[in-house]
Symmetry: C2
Subunit: 259 residues, 2 copies
């Protein structure tokens, strides 16, 4: 039987709220077994960029990463957010080690080709170095990835944290029984958007089609769910979507997605 591995992704809404982050890191520390954390930090970067007088250009919710924006992202994701999370996890007894995809050549990406839009220094994941990540896990480190990769030619690249999390989960599924957790601001996929507790607790392909047809899954939820099924179709065991409380063993109110 394969050993278990949890890959947990948190977004900006957790990182920017000190109390929420603290609570999350407690839950993450208490999580049993091998684990990996992936974090974004978008709003914090925008805030520092504003202070530096750098305008963050966004197209369809995606940042255009010019040279100056990449600097800010490298400072905020790789430095400020990552090192503070690592220090706090260490204080909670989790042997965290902070990484970008350049560190240990863990995640190699390619600069997104310019089509209609030039996203600048944005990276599309090409290869997860599962051997390197496995070495770190075996040495009892808990990797904490920020949303930065590299092209192995010296260029750092801003990369979507959801994608990093799913690609790591996919890569590690050869060796581990993987569960991918997406923590966001809601308790899961909601039947009724105005009712926080109307969580669909289990989605499999048939249910997914049904939810799609009834327009329950739309807008921002659609790419999220597509990403989940992409991971499941590539051997990830289980994907869970919910707020940070889903990491607690007693929690039941979140969405589990399986094939």
């Amino acid at each position: 039987m394969k050993p278990k591995l949890s890959i947990v992704k948190i977004g900006g809404n957790v990182i920017e709220n000190e109390a929420e982050l603290h609570k999350f890191l407690d839950f993450f520390s208490e999580l049993k077994g091998a684990k990996i954390l992936v974090h974004g930090g978008g709003k914090l970067a925008t805030q520092i960029a504003d202070q530096l007088g750098i305008t963050s250009q966004m197209v369809g919710g995606r940042r255009i990463t010019d040279k100056e924006s990449l600097k800010v992202i490298t400072m905020v994701y790789g430095g400020l957010a990552n090192k503070n999370i690592v220090a706090q996890l260490q204080a909670k007894g989790t042997n965290a080690i902070g990484l970008s995809g350049a560190d240990g050549n863990t995640i190699q990406a390619v600069k997104r080709p310019v089509k209609e839009i030039d996203y600048g220094f944005a990276g599309d994941v090409e290869k997860v170095n599962t051997a390197a990540i496995e070495k770190l896990l075996k040495a009892d480190f808990t990797p904490v990835f920020c949303a930065i990769t590299h092209n192995n030619q010296g260029q750092l690249l801003n990369t979507n944290a959801d994608t990093i999390a799913s690609e790591i989960a996919i890569g590690m599924s050869g060796v581990f029984e993987t569960t991918l957790y997406y923590c966001f601001e809601k308790k899961g996929v909601l039947l009724d958007i105005s009712d926080e507790n109307s969580v669909v607790t289990h989605i499999e392909p048939k249910k997914y089609q049904e939810l799609l047809q009834n327009n329950i899954i739309a807008d921002g939820m659609l790419p999220k769910l597509e990403n989940c099924f992409h991971a499941l179709n590539q051997q990830v065991n289980k994907v869970c979507i919910g707020d940070i409380s889903m990491l607690q063993p007693s929690s039941t109110l979140y969405t589990t997605i399986t094939l």
Copy 2:
């Protein structure tokens, strides 16, 4: 026989000059055997702090690290400088992994006690986790340390890069035959400050006393040399001081210090 380990420290003068950094990273990549890089980045931090409207207070060449300055240092040392160095080393075929002292709990420090001056979030190294660093070296990673430690209670601390380098060298000397390299802007200890090539190529304790008496070693050189002998007295095999070219096998014009 113990395996060899090189610990190389570079200062701000190398990091801030792109061409110089590139050249240094080539030399570092070509260095044979196990190796560790330690970098500062002081001037770059001051520059970003200025842009953010944060005044860097310095006393006797040391930064007073208030909460806002620590933020900048975490961004610049841990993020901008560290991740770019790591990405460039990876491109040169060196399997670099960027670390602060919080990562893998590699370097624990204590917040400097307030005496006449309150240095703020400045750390004095308490313990180098040699087992963790050895694990990384054995797994074929090349650690790249920025000048940040932690107190293992969630607090990051700004820490002198020279000290980090010597403390790592001292800690690793139990297992490795260590050479500590301090790269700075001069070719070594100079007999005549106005003659770049008047390098004292070898210093041992007797020569050191002689140089002290003749006022050859004074000002900024004094604490540097004290730091070197401190390391040598704690089992570090050899300390070398010079500019980046001393890492080249063909180089002879630099200062070697031994007991």
